[in-house]
Amino acid sequence: MEKTKISSGVNLYTLNINKFKTFTVSMYIHRKLNESEASLNALLPFVMKRGSKKYPDTVAVSETLESLYGGFFDCFIRKKGENQIIAFNFEFVAPQYIPNDSDYVNGVFGFINDMLFNPLTNGNSFNEEYVEREKQNLKDYIEGIINDKKEYANKRCIEELCEGEAYAVYEYGSVENLDKINAKNLYEHYVEIMKTSVIDVFVIGDIDSSPLKNALADSIKRDDVKEGYHIAKIKAPCDKVKVVTDKMEVNQGKLAMGFTTETAFDDEDSYALTMFNSVYGSGAHSKLFNNVREKLSLCYYAYSRLDKHKGIMLVNSGVEFENFEKAYNEILAQLECVKKGEISDMEITAAKKYLVNMLRSLNDSAFSIEDFYLSGVITGNITTIEEYIENIEKVTKEQIVEVAKKVKLNTVYYLTGKGE
């Protein structure tokens, strides 16, 4: 990955490889996660996606993408640590697969540059109709989280676990704060963030990125940017476990358990924590899969996942209401097993190989490569995938046990039936 500094706080990362049939272009704008501006950040890319000066409406935008052999363009909001990241992702067929179309590459960069740097405005304001429509769309999205009960339980658990901290803020913002946004204050916010935010741009594939590089230099004018990345404060352990229950008309109960790990992204035992999670609850070799699902037949899924930026771990499972307690007990019993060092060599080998396989596989997807480097850039701990693998390989059983001892239950969330 080659890094080029464009201006203060703006960096271009390029990786020229020809293994893929496509090339990808992404822009990430980093903002500090907080309640007051979360909704503004979340709404912005969706308004920009509706139209630029050259492609002023959805019809023009989509027709252009279709003519460019089905180019992909979408926007997302991500949360990494206390960074709320506004993401723009593009993917186009590599020019070598588009014969007899000499204007193709110009067409692609003309489109990307216009969408990113030349948004449709009306004086010092965005298009009002688009802003109102996208507010409604985002509102539907936020309210629609409840439709996926698994994700809903996970989100509720994080909110309760990190209550009162910036990290509890949902990356897509809140319905209440959306109501305060209009075409004018959103445009002002846009101008502000293009001046003051750290911006990372990635180009991966067999393509000359200079048209984008020039557009970046021309379009983003700014003085010295003081903002950096926003590392989250590691969640502190608590004395008393918090228990929260929501009731809803559901057939299956959802159990989500939030733990603190007291381990930061750049701590020495961070790799041991990753190994711990693999042994404990991530994958078909893990203790949770083999005991909660296979041995006790309590559920279809039970797994753990880490958020290393915040130092927390979440365990999720879907179980019958009457089996909540059995599942809860087994999830904790398996954690105790790890803490007591009841881990076989086979489990360690499987956990290690699982992670190595996952890490090596990242190299086969451009967006995955990008995501890996983006995490490194944010935490200031840039490693290559190979270095990461070496560190995982070195982890010992003793280190897993040590890091497991720091893992403590903090919050238990139940989604249960109305009649329960």
């Binding site: 293994k19 893929f20 049939k21 496509t22 959805t58 019809v59 935008v61 989509s62 027709e63 279709e66 003519s67 460019l68 052999y69 089905g70 180019g71 993917e91 067929v93 070598q96 697969y97 429509r133 409604q136 769309n137 539907d140 999205y141 309210e143 629609g144 989280i145 409840i146 439709n147 996926d148 009960k149 698994k150 008309e249 559901v250 057939n251 299956q252 994958g283 078909a284 070799h285 699902r293 296979e294 037949s297 309590l298 559920c299 279809y300 899924y301 879907g318 019958e320 086979m346 080998t349 499987a350 190989k353 699982y354 190595v356 396989n357 090596r360 596989s361 190299n363 086969d364 997807s365």
Partner: protein, 428 residues
């Protein structure tokens, strides 16, 4: 075994194809610069194969709904009490399986120890081990899988739509069956289905990655035996009338806003091979012109606030069933369905736009090229198409034969308002 090497200039890829002496079809997509290897073995046996016989003089027998999926779960059981995942884990391979309407597939991806993992894949898929005890354990796990889907509004709205479209076709039943139907499954029934459908002649092995073709051949010779009897399953032909079951269906669930799925049942079925491949391309083009983000329909629905970002279209075009659908969240599904129908009528009168047709043709080409980026999806696509007698390497020839006139004719046949159904999941 002998492989035939085929190179495709359009996508710049090479495929090795052959039939193993056991009757197993084998294809290898040589991906030299990928770290990953992917292998999938797929059988032409899915949730729709619920009534069959093994001899033409026999009567057809009906098996419980969900048995193909149940069998998929149980294949992981090993005689020594471990499960097939264990060995994959030690090799560093990530294994999985899935059951669809038409196929059951077992797969793994790995960045190391490919030959060992392939050996293990063939080992476990060709050595079933079912006991009363392990069958009953699985009823608990699958029971929870079914309950999970019962709360999944997108899954429910889709199957309800199929129920509204189809009168008899087993497509209308949930792939996993019901808690009741799976309680009728026992080990003998599992062996019965396994022995008949998991016949090498009824299966394909697809591999993608930088593998040693000769070594694959060696492993196959060692692990896959020729059966004494030939593959002999006769599936009961589905007697599906040329009408829908009911025009509207609804259900209440805990959702934020109504979720809908609506579509046309296509009764012009019976195609395979090139004809089917061509039909598939034409349907993609039609659905794009009709309802993509550049279409008049989408923009009217979106601007009126009738649909949001969750709006999608999808197609399923197989030999014995075919349908197209639109879906998403909508505060007024009835109104949305009316507008969809009105656009269909409009284009039937005026014809689809020719410029949109050319644009969409370009998109279909790009989509094909892109599909070779992901080992998983390209392999699964090759397998699915193999069972329909379609060779994905022939794409360009078929693609170039697609004309505007053919596409209009296809549009006229499929989009018949008498075969339109609407399924809605309403908030409680």
């Amino acid at each position: 075994m002998i492989f035939n090497k085929v190179t495709n200039e359009t996508v710049n890829e090479t495929l090795y194809k052959g039939v193993h002496k056991s009757g197993l079809n084998v294809m290898i997509l040589k991906k030299e610069n990928y770290e990953k290897y992917y292998a999938v073995i797929s059988t032409r046996y899915g949730s729709v194969n619920s009534e069959f016989k093994t001899d033409k003089n026999e009567e057809f027998t009906k098996v419980p709904d969900g048995i193909a999926h149940f069998l998929e779960h149980k294949m992981f059981e090993q005689p020594d009490g471990t499960n097939a995942f264990d060995k994959f884990s030690l090799y560093g391979a990530n294994a999985n399986a899935f059951t669809s309407f038409n196929n059951t597939a077992y797969l793994f991806s790995t960045t190391s120890m490919f030959n060992e993992s392939l050996t293990h894949l063939l080992d476990y898929v060709f050595s079933p081990y079912f006991t009363e005890e392990n069958v009953s354990k699985e009823q608990g796990i699958i029971g929870q899988e079914i309950r999970m889907y019962d709360d999944d509004p997108e899954w429910r709205v889709f199957f309800n739509m199929l129920n509204a479209m189809y009168v008899n076709h087993p497509l209308k039943y949930d792939i996993a069956g019901t808690v009741e139907s799976i309680s009728e499954i026992d080990k003998d029934l599992l062996y019965h289905c396994y022995n008949h459908f998991y016949h090498p002649e009824n299966m394909i092995l697809f591999i993608a990655g930088d593998v040693d073709v000769d070594k694959v051949s060696e492993i196959l010779d060692e692990k896959v035996e020729k059966r004494e009897t030939k593959f002999s399953i006769i599936n009961k032909p589905v007697d599906e009338p040329e009408r829908i079951n009911q025009p509207y269906i609804s259900q209440k669930l805990s959702v934020s806003t109504p979720i809908f799925s609506c579509g046309f049942k296509d009764i012009d079925v019976g195609y395979t091979g090139t004809e089917l491949a061509k039909k598939n391309i034409m349907i993609s083009i039609i659905m794009g012109i009709l309802s993509s983000e550049s279409s008049g329909l989408y923009n009217e629905l979106y601007n009126k606030g009738l649909v949001n970002d969750s709006f999608y279209n999808d197609t399923a075009c197989y030999s014995d069933y075919s349908f197209v659908q639109f879906g998403g969240e909508s505060k007024d599904p009835q109104k949305t369905a009316e507008i969809i129908l009105s656009y269909v009528e409009k284009y039937k009168k005026e014809g689809l736009s020719k410029t949109a047709f050319e644009r969409y043709k370009k998109l279909v080409y790009g989509k094909y090229i892109k599909s070779f980026n992901s080992l998983e999806s390209v392999s699964n696509a090759f397998c699915g198409n193999y069972f329909l007698n379609i060779d994905l390497f022939d794409f360009l020839t078929v693609y170039e034969s697609v004309t505007y006139e053919d596409t209009m004719e296809c549009f006229g046949k499929i989009f018949n308002k008498d075969l339109f159904v609407l399924s809605v999941v309403e908030p409680q």
